[in-house]
């Protein structure tokens, strides 16, 4: 048994960690077993944990199976990191259509959480680009499924939090790109009205839109970032940055009221000064924190929560305003505060998080009861607005909010693998 914690580092529990190294071994290990598949453990909360139980660590299944540079179809094992796909495929003029803010996650994890990125309004979520996947069940069955093949299994597994079986391999459709470069534009906004105007006017012409919101300002000022892939002559390819590392866990969170106020003020002003167009390498622009290893240590020994919700667009502005007010009143929050609109498309997964509306994501250092009280206020706003919370980030949402946020839960449970259980499934589903 070894101690394992998730990216939020809230606590660590003993796990029977079983590293798997190839797909045959994975199918054999899963058959008749009880456990939970875990990718690169970048989920923030408890979706990837199985305290006192078994974890099948999938990162050893990291082989490509086949890639056709003519069509951009890639087959690979489920433990391949998105980073390794991108670095391989960019050479041939292809990239993953959808990635989240980190490349350091596995294909299996990306499917199980149906991750999204800054281009949701154009390209949807990760599951929209999965052509097929292979699922190993604890009863020994191996199921190949896709949008048109065993479609129920596919819809349950995309966004299915690993609970329908162990994804051992997948076939993905990559997208043609002219190169690794992005044309970017930064626009400061002073309030939520301006944010929504920017979002509405940017979605047609910009493939990537996201914004940083100053969660302490109370008025919803922030910076709107938009970007497009562009055909730009190669600038010597490699971004060539040497990674840095947070070398140890500081005794208290470095993110606190004092540091945050100073940071937010500086960040807003500095970016306002250099607002406008620029050219950036996709890795540097899209995954800035991948170059700061172990950044989750900054939040100190008690770890941190991420609270990410989505609310329907109609109720969106009032709900976001209310959440920002509640956060300001609490004096808590972080500089990783992301506000973004989702496009009008329905995700393929029964339990997928993205839905039409507006999503707000914030990190909060764990301050015990104080933080829990703030979350209850935010939950009430999300509940009233008819929204949902993102399971991949969650460690504490109440069961009623999970049930109201995910109306296809009952349908999903028919596909559940009875041998697979996580801390999250026990907390939210009861087993």
């Amino acid at each position: 048994m070894v101690k394992v914690s998730s990216w939020g580092r809230l606590d660590s529990h003993e796990h029977d960690l079983v590293p798997l190294a190839d797909r045959d071994q994975a199918v054999r290990a899963v058959a008749g077993g009880r456990g939970l598949p875990q990718g690169n453990a970048r989920s923030y909360g408890d979706v990837c944990l199985n305290p006192d139980g078994r974890l099948w660590r999938m990162t050893g299944l990291d082989r490509f199976i086949a890639f056709d540079p003519g069509t951009g179809r890639l087959r690979c094992e489920a433990g391949v990191l998105l980073r390794d796909i991108q670095r391989m495929s960019i050479v041939h003029g292809w990239l993953l259509p959808v990635t989240p803010g980190t490349q350091m996650i596995t294909v299996g994890g990306a499917i199980a959480n149906d991750v999204h990125g800054k281009n949701h309004h154009v390209l949807g979520s990760f599951g929209d680009h999965v052509l097929q996947l292979r699922l190993a069940r604890t009863d020994g069955r191996v199921i190949d499924c896709g949008p048109d093949l065993e479609a129920g299994w596919f819809a349950a597994t995309v966004g299915g939090m690993g609970l329908t079986g162990v994804i051992v391999e997948a076939e993905l459709q990559l997208r043609r790109v002219a190169g690794p470069w992005l044309v970017t534009d930064t626009v400061p906004y002073r309030n939520l009205d301006e944010f929504f105007q920017l979002a509405d006017t940017s979605e047609a012409g910009w493939e990537q839109t996201v914004s940083w919101v100053d969660c302490l300002s109370g008025i919803g000022r922030g910076l709107f970032f938009r970007a497009n892939l562009a055909a730009i002559p190669d600038r010597g390819a490699e971004s060539g940055r040497k990674p840095k590392r947070v070398p140890f866990v500081p005794p208290v969170s470095l993110v606190n009221g004092l540091s945050l106020r100073a940071f937010n003020e500086t960040y807003f002003r500095a970016n306002t000064l250099k607002a406008g167009y620029a050219v950036a390498h996709f890795e540097k622009y899209t995954y800035p924190l991948d170059n700061l290893h172990d950044w989750n240590r900054m939040y100190g020994p008690r770890g941190f929560y991420q609270y990410q919700s989505v609310v329907p667009r109609a109720a969106g502005q009032a709900a976001i305003q209310a959440m920002l007010a509640a956060i300001k009143a609490s004096g808590q929050g972080s500089f990783l505060a992301v506000l973004k609109t989702f496009g009008d498309r329905t995700s393929r997964g029964m339990m997928s998080f993205p839905r039409p509306g507006v999503t707000l994501a914030l990190d909060f250092p764990n301050r015990g009861a104080q933080t829990a009280a703030l979350f209850e206020r935010l939950d009430a706003i999300v509940r009233d607005a008819g929204g949902r919370i993102y399971a991949a980030k969650d460690a504490r949402m109440p069961r009623d909010l999970f049930e109201s946020g995910y109306p296809r839960l009952a349908e999903f449970l028919q596909y559940r693998d009875p041998g697979i259980s996580s801390a999250m499934s026990r907390r939210l589903i009861g087993s």
Binding site: P19, A21, D22, G60, R63, F64, I65, A66, M88, H92
Partner: protein, 250 residues
Amino acid sequence: MPDSLQRIVIVGATSSIAEHCARLWAAKGGVAFTLVGRDAARLERVAADLHVRGAGSTVTVRTADFSDPRAIRALADAVVAEGMPHQVLIAHGSLPDQQQCQRDLDAACEALDVNGVSPVLFAEAFAGHMEPVGGVITIIGSVAGDRGRRSNYVYGAAKGLVTRYAQGLQHRLAGSGSALKVVLVKPGPTATPMTAHLPQRGLAPVEQVARLIVDGANAGKPVVYAPGKWALIMMVIRHLPAVVFNKMNI
């Protein structure tokens, strides 16, 4: 097969360290790999992966009996007949249970064979072909070969055999003025499937170890500790007087 490709032969190609070395070579593109192993299905998977990673690379797989001197000779002859390798990496091995080796001489014999005798025979077979033309033969030994310790001295003895062999071959090649270089790699404990059952704390990431091996092989360095800190640690351990060393539980 175009002559411009760099010919790299990897013996024990399904081992995790070897696979990661191959990925680093493949990333540069333009490599003609020959992968040698015992399990054809696993070799094919590694080959498919390298084929995707290595733009413009070719991959050939061969299986062999690693404990039969004649099979080893025949394999080296056949590989060389297809084209003289520029690089040979000999990477196979297994981590035996020391306690079991003490009880069961068959287990001890197999551990000595697969970790010591077999790699040496592969190296000898390729060295005979490559001595006149040059190239690099890289053999993976271990820090465990630097001094026998109670926790794993059967494995350590096999790796010690590899160490002495590599020294001797280097001496022979220096004397003959050959352009063939022999690189002896001594990895410390590394996070691979071979060590998956051990506490993971303190194990070096396999990517880091592979990077040091490939850099060392490309440069033709005589001895590579991976990670480098083990050079210092093992120097101290080698020189500890027995009265002190024998009190240590390592």
